[in-house]
Amino acid sequence: MNGTGTLNDGLTAARHAVMLRLSPDRQAIEITGDTLPAPLRWMLADLRALPGPVGAPHLVLTRHAATEDEAPRDPARLTVDDPDLVVWLRRSRPALFQTDLHPGTRRRLVRAALMAVAAIAVLLLVILPGLANTLARLIPLKTEIAFGESVIAQMERAVGAASLGALRCDAPAGRAALDRMVARLSDGRDLGYDLKVHVFDHPMINAFAAPGGQVVIMRGLLDQAPDGVLGADAVAGVLAHEFGHVANRDATRNALRVAGTAGILSMVVGDVAGSAVLVAVAQQMLDSSYTRDAETKADVFALDMLAGANIDADGFAAFFDRLAQEEGRLKLPEYFSSHPATDGRALAARSFAEGQAVTTPVLSEADWTDLKSICAKP
């Protein structure tokens, strides 16, 4: 197989017009040219072609060789224009477009990948949460309360308040009943904050703890509480749970941790079509593992608080039953949800209640009625 081509020797940018010939032993291409100092012999087994446009009439050849370069390739290039020779090379050299790696490349890459994953994991799971804990303790009380107030204001806007304070419920009799409930729960305990409980006029069945000892109850929680005085006990259980978050500074810690981890996942996944979804899912799983842990601790705290105030934990259990009904079929797997499985929480509260000695309802029938109408306009 003979032909012509152009050689770049990898040392200068000069072009050498060359003649190509298969060696007599059929093991190599012999390259000769007037401008070449000596004929070259390229082993067929070492021949590699550069990737290029599929339909290109030419082929650029190089050799597999142990070099320092990014790929184990000889720097010399041989451009073959001869159509017959190109066809022959493509047909008879299966290793032509093979990718070659320096020895040990895979091992080094796997090591780098494992180290990167480990470093990011340590950062997301250990360093940033640890730092968030420390910083949450360092924040001055006044600042934390101010931050909490702005969080509550944001929340009020988010649920649709036209102006700040428009959704806050403050009927005097209901407020007095609520204060009595808070006083009974927190009697003899120092949570580190002056507790402040707000009620928002919104049908959502929920309650939140904001930084700085502030708790928000949605009206829906009062409306949907179990019938009778048991309902007041249920609300007390939920409040005790939120006070658990307050005592642990969960809201502040969470805000700091989220600020630290925001953006890191999206940087790892990169600017790929649909990456936003992927990042959201991963972020949700990461966040939920922390919040689930915090919820479990707050539940334990709540049961202890109820016991201390001699309030029946059955109300708390009844609240979880109510929640389970709401969830219905829309149940997320536990690892994905921000809260532990509801039926498990109901069970824990119920078995705790069985062990309780004498309990008294947290509010009188009259007080409970007042609290339920705290959002009624005078």
Binding site: A71, M115, A259, G260
Partner: protein, 398 residues
């Protein structure tokens, strides 16, 4: 006697489309990990499709080294960003005394800019290093291109020029363009031969003229309209001025490139001639952009129809359970991502390829016979192989 050679681009839209589609879909399937190899393969195609003086360019970078560089960069940036953001929130909270929501808004905006300014040096660093990496992986006639390791010098200069441009309300933009390009060019090599940027920064004002005209129309038109109380004049001047500014910005990008290329010198003797046309670039953006949007839109509409039909089938089966199963959602989700990948491949074929081809085909090198004497340069390990640029999303599809 000097010998001249005009560069030539040999790629067809079809082969660009198919490779972009293949690599794009592989990127989707591998949750983004393939993107380093995808970029590498696209570059191999574009480089190999470009001919100068009878020889093709060659891209020798590998996806593996890019992936590894990314891993290193992302760990560094994650630590830096994570600690910085958390400390900023902590300090921000401590500064925040009065919880007025407007104040908080301002604090948040301030925090956002702080993050941006904290990242800006790394973005500039990444820009230079990415160019250095691309140069070190480009060869022609077997000879390597290269760039000096001088990224931090670029960072300080870019920050200084940027500040100066900002303070002069953009009036010194040509000065910034010129000196930053000069910094990069004067550190760029082909083998043992160095590039050199000549010319004067004041000459770039000619390329800036449409930008200034658009600005004048906007300011004068809106000003006069406001003075005589004619809202129609204001709206007209606003729209015309705005469009003129966009066209002017593209014109500046194309023609400043052409001027700077015409004033480059290689090895003290090889010269360049560049004559790209702004009109062609704008035409390609408009027509190619419309085409890509149309195709992506049709695909997404078809997909939406299929999705709606599936949900319809479910709700017909049992009222109130209008949710397709997990399989259905997965099919629609994958279809959505695939549609985006197809759209990106169409844009690559209809916008990127013609514009690159236009720049190539209007570039002439004068004195190519002098190139023969240029010798090989040493291998550059390529530092982070563009990892910082990939982590910070600096740089486009190529």
């Amino acid at each position: 006697m000097t010998t001249n050679s005009t560069a030539k681009n040999h790629l067809t839209g079809t082969e660009v489309f198919w490779l972009a589609l293949k690599t794009g879909l592989l990127t989707v399937v591998t949750l983004g990990i393939y993107r380093f190899w995808a970029k590498t393969r696209m570059r191999q195609l574009f480089w190999a499709g470009t001919e100068l003086d009878g020889d093709r360019f060659e891209y020798t970078g590998t996806g593996l080294e890019k992936f590894k560089g990314f891993l290193i960069a992302v760990v560094f940036l994650a630590v830096y960003l994570g600690l910085l953001q958390m400390l900023l929130l902590f300090l921000g909270l401590n500064v925040l005394r009065e919880p007025q929501s407007d104040m908080e808004m301002a604090a948040q905006v301030g925090g956002f800019y702080l993050i941006f300014f904290a990242l800006l040096p790394f973005i500039l660093f990444a820009t230079y290093r990415a160019q250095r990496y691309r140069m070190s992986r480009t060869r022609w006639r077997g000879i390597r291109f290269g760039m000096d390791s001088a990224a931090w010098g670029y960072v300080w200069r870019a920050l200084g020029h940027g500040l100066l441009t900002l303070l002069t309300l953009g009036l010194l933009l040509p000065r910034m363009t010129f000196f930053l390009e000069k910094y990069r060019t004067d550190r760029t090599w082909f083998g043992t031969a160095r590039f050199e940027q000549r010319g004067r920064w004041q000459d770039l004002y000619l390329a800036m003229k449409h930008l200034l005209i658009g600005l004048a129309i906007l300011i004068v038109g809106v000003g006069v309209g406001a003075m005589v109380g004619a809202p129609a004049v204001m709206v007209l001047a606003g729209v015309v001025g705005y469009i003129w500014i966009i066209v002017g910005a593209i014109h500046y990008g194309v023609q400043s490139f052409a001027y700077l290329t015409r004033n480059k010198l290689l090895d003290g003797q090889v010269m360049f001639d560049a004559a790209p046309r702004t009109g062609f670039v704008i035409y390609t953006y408009v027509v190619g952009g419309l085409g890509a949007a149309l195709i992506t839109g049709v695909l997404l509409a078809v997909l939406g129809g299929i999705g709606a039909a599936m949900i319809g089938a479910f709700s017909g089966f049992e009222a109130g359970r209008g949710m397709p199963g997990f399989g259905g959602i997965a099919v629609i989700g994958l279809g959505y991502l695939a549609s985006l990948a197809i759209g990106a491949a169409v844009a690559m074929a209809l916008i990127t390829r013609p514009i690159i081809a236009h720049y190539t085909d209007t570039l002439t090198v004068r004195g190519t016979d002098a190139l023969n004497a240029i010798r090989q340069r040493a291998y550059d390990a390529g530092a982070d192989a563009e990892g910082f640029a990939d982590a910070l999303d600096v740089g486009g599809a190529l």
